[in-house]
Symmetry: C2
Subunit: 594 residues, 2 copies
């Protein structure tokens, strides 16, 4: 296909758009690939749409290759199936809801688990109909609170979502692995670096789950990895809990006045002065900080939650949100504190926390607030913590002996140097963009919507499902973010809007004719070509535009054409080579075909 | 590509779905092409999606061929641009509106005139940037009151909409003609019979407009055509108005008691008895019936309108709606009549109608209701009509002499035998499905959104636009409606889900192997093949399924394979031919390639 700059809807901009922060966003707009059309909504211009379709094609080819079948659902869906699974509420304000002319509730689907489940329920009745994998490439909607970062987080975006249906767990595991391998091939072909990390489920429910993250300082997700190969979304990292230790020799806990301990540092100093340990000095990690939050459940009800973490770490908001999902986390504000006068701000200890209704030990009262602690608060560990009295701390409070939590919760911040849970070495944290997500949903949706088939013995069994997503429009942005330099975009061949950018750098009829002929020869050989044939534009502007647009191979026909030579430039490396004009087409075809 | 019935998501049904009326709807569901997923929303199953994509490809190829450039807009759009053009209100309840989490108003776009206009305003500044034609293939939304007829009228559907931008009317005319020719090629390639009819603009505003209608008794649109080549949407037919005649010799109008004239027929009889004409007897067409309706304007205000039509014709609701658009037509009910006691139900004459504020002639009062009459009510024509008094009619009331309307309105029903306005002979009416619409929008949107460019003289001129739509998903239904028989669907080759349906009609290893080989050979030759390889399904069921699915060419490998023969059947004609198994692949490739 031949595109001519003289007629193409392509207006490059020298200035960055005011609302753009990321390089990908700025450059995709400046190079004429996308334009903002709505809050969180972009128009794909001709060059951008070509890239998007190439990404879509790669995704489709790899899905087809694993036997997944393409279908297409409506985006505008009735409330009922999403109500049956609880997602109508759980999705909260991210879900775009609307009413039709009769007042019936509808939504714009963010994902389609329910609909695929109902389709398979409608079409399949026997184990013989399974395994089955279905997918769609579709425009999805999500009411992002702050749609930003261009295509990376919009209200309307293109996703490939697929779903597997199996009669047993072994089948699901196989489907999951097939999708995993397909995703590896997809991101390899897109030329996008990725890390496969363990992930938590968020609002989706289910079990095994991994994300394909593109490591990038611009990423919205934090993940950790070890040199030994462990990688996880920060929400999914598990803490290595210490072995329980005996408290037989532990001294009794002591409550002491602790004036002037506004910081953990000062508390540690006071601890070592007033109540030294036998074995080693107290450290910040021996203090136990209790944080109260309010959990807001999807049905609107609220409940306080106390979280105990070592004083040297903060509660990580994302990890907490993931751990309590689908409940939302709200601050425990003054009004809430007023309802719980037994909570002494700044001196909250385990004594008054927990669901048990009678007090123990020194604290005879209890708040009845659910109390979950970091896994490091293992039985036998001794802590410096609040004594539930103003200006007093308790020293040597031993977990298991002096207090018992209602359970553990793994939401303390993860730090560079923390041990990987699989023993593969210290962790390092990094930022990434979520490009894909594979997920063993299990039977949650099948149970909610009653998807059962007859097994080999004629018995009805609930189907087990996987769900698998690729951010298609987001991939365009990630590729642009990964592949750009100070001059503009740098596309990999697999998704470049065209194969070759032919720049006619001169007004002589000869140069123009040679440019036309070369472009025609390339098109005849099956390549897609962008021909800069603008008659009144200077070579300098054309070069700048070519660099901005970022086609992998740029051919310039200019002054040296009189010597029979054209210049072939590699956009990524900047390497230039002179090629005889008569050999140029052949040379370029070989280059593109690799 | 090879599809295997054994794994394909294809469950044919023997029973028609309960909610389906049209054959296309029934068969597309029964043959496993679509499934209902929401009110007015369908899921495209694998075979249906293949047909849809083939239609899309044909549309894209023909749009690309006329130099239109593909872009893609969001579907979820802010209110403001649609408010600027008045369409936010004009669209009424057909527009799906919603609010985002901040309460801002959004809509799901039914068409994108505003956004294309704004894009061009953003990207183009000079006549040198024009002409420009842009298009998208996109999912559109419309809140249909009664989503029915399967894909023919849904709430969510795929459309190709394109827009042309020109600096002058001559350019628009050219762009319009290019689109017209592209549409001719599109519908020719789709194998869909069509009539190009003059159309009115409806809510769109603008001037020249034609529709591509597929003639079908199931169509929702009525159109007329003459043997001489005139064709128009019924909303667009204009009535040939009689020449004005002199009233010099016309007798004075007379008011007479007319008891017992409940019907037009009885009124005609009474007229000829009480007040005979000199020239000929009174006919039903000489009575003047005045109908009052309430116009509801987009801003919510209402206004009565009186329409005078010859008594032998009804007011055609669709023509009336089109004529008064964007106002909506509501009945003039008892409450309204109560507000206008001067209107004597059953005896409303021109005397009390019209915007003039003082009465004339026998009726000294006036309603102040706007009064528009059929073009046949030409100056000098004499009428029998209501005398605005109970039980009385007036005879020989002459238009122009005895009453004057506020204007004409062409909304009387059109009948078989009416003359075509271009003199090309009598009209016949027929039903059709709207498949495409081309439309010279003119400057309405450019003016509303201030789209101007500099012309050759450096003067700012308002751009003139065309808009052009093809119903893509609707085309699938229309093709199915046009191409089916009592056995099932009958696809034309251009959009068939696959090229050849290979039926393995036997369990012998030899037959199965021959089927596999033939399918593989066809795929190797570049054909798309559906192989019915289901091991436990009888040949009879396979034949029935093949007929239902409707692939143009069905090859059966059965008993006669032992003689080295396979049967090749043409689905449309039913013709069967025996072909040597060794020649079958070559034979079929030739057949498909045509």
């Amino acid at each position: 296909m031949l595109l001519r700059t003289s007629t193409l809807l392509l207006r490059t901009l020298r200035e960055d758009p005011a609302d753009a922060e990321l390089a990908s966003h700025k450059l995709l707009v400046r190079a004429g690939f996308i334009r903002r059309a709505a809050p969180g909504g972009f128009t794909w211009l001709p060059l951008g749409l070509r890239v998007l379709k190439k990404v879509e094609r790669i995704v489709r080819e790899e899905m087809d290759a694993i036997g997944a079948q393409e279908v297409h659902f409506p985006a505008l869906l009735p409330k009922e199936p999403y109500e049956a699974t609880g997602r109508w509420e759980e999705y909260g304000p991210n879900l775009l809801r609307l009413k039709d002319r009769r007042g019936a509730d509808f939504l714009l689907a963010p994902t389609h688990e329910e609909m695929f489940t109902l389709l398979v329920k409608d079409q399949c009745s026997s184990y013989k109909d399974l395994p089955l994998s279905l997918y769609q490439v579709q425009t999805k909607f999500r009411d992002e609170a702050r749609p930003r970062a261009g295509l990376l987080r919009g209200r309307e975006f293109v996703m490939k979502d697929s779903y597997s249906f199996d009669v047993d767990d072994a089948g699901l595991e196989k489907a999951y692995q097939r999708h995993r391998e397909a995703y590896v091939r997809i991101f390899d072909r897109l030329g996008l670096e990725y890390v496969i990390v363990s992930a938590v489920s968020g609002a989706m429910g289910g079990s095994a789950s991994e994300e394909f993250l593109h490591p990038s300082p611009q990423g919205e997700d934090t993940f950790v990895r070890s040199a030994g190969g462990y990688a996880a979304n920060v929400e999914a990292v598990t803490t290595v809990a210490p072995e329980p230790v005996s408290w037989d020799d532990a001294p009794a806990a002591v409550v002491l006045d602790t004036p002037d301990t506004p910081t953990i540092e000062s508390l540690v100093a006071v601890s070592n002065a007033l109540h030294p340990r036998d074995d080693r000095p107290w450290e910040a990690a021996d203090t136990l900080k209790n944080v109260i939050v309010l959990l807001r459940h999807p049905d609107g009800t609220a409940e306080p939650l106390a979280v105990g973490v070592p004083g040297d770490r903060e509660v990580d908001t994302k990890r907490l949100e993931a751990a309590v999902s689908p409940a939302a986390v709200e601050p425990f504000d003054e009004a809430q504190f007023a309802q719980h006068p037994e909570l002494v701000k700044g001196y909250i200890g385990p004594g008054g926390l927990g669901l048990r209704t009678t007090g123990e030990g020194e604290t005879a009262t209890t708040t009845g607030i659910r109390y979950l602690v970091d896994p490091r608060v293992a039985p036998g560990t001794a802590w410096v913590t609040g004594a539930d009295q103003p200006g007093k701390h308790v020293f040597g409070l031993v977990a298991g002996r002096d207090f018992t939590a209602d359970g553990t919760i793994d939401v303390a911040e993860v730090r560079d140097g923390d041990p990987a849970p699989d023993g593969s070495g210290p962790l390092e944290t990094a930022r990434g963009m979520e490009m894909g997500h594979i997920f063993q949903l299990g039977r949650k949706y099948a149970e909610a919507l009653d998807l059962k088939v007859l097994d080999e013995n004629g018995k009805l069994v609930t189907v087990t499902m996987g769900s698998y997503g690729v951010g298609v429009s987001r991939a365009v942005a990630a590729i642009a973010e990964a592949g750009h330099d100070e001059l503009g975009l740098v596309w990999p061949r697999s998704v470049a809007p065209v194969d070759v950018h032919v720049v006619v750098a001169g007004k002589d009829a000869e140069v123009v004719a040679a440019g036309e002929k070369l472009a025609a020869d390339l098109v005849a050989a099956g390549l897609d070509v962008l021909l800069d044939d603008r008659p009144r534009v200077s070579p300098g502007v054309k070069f700048k535009d070519a660099e901005l647009v970022g086609v992998p191979t740029i051919v310039t026909l200019g002054k040296r054409l009189s010597e029979g030579v054209v210049e072939v430039r590699d956009r990524a490396t900047g390497e230039r080579a002179d090629v005889a004009v008569d050999d140029a087409a052949q040379h370029l075809v070989a280059l593109v075909r690799g």
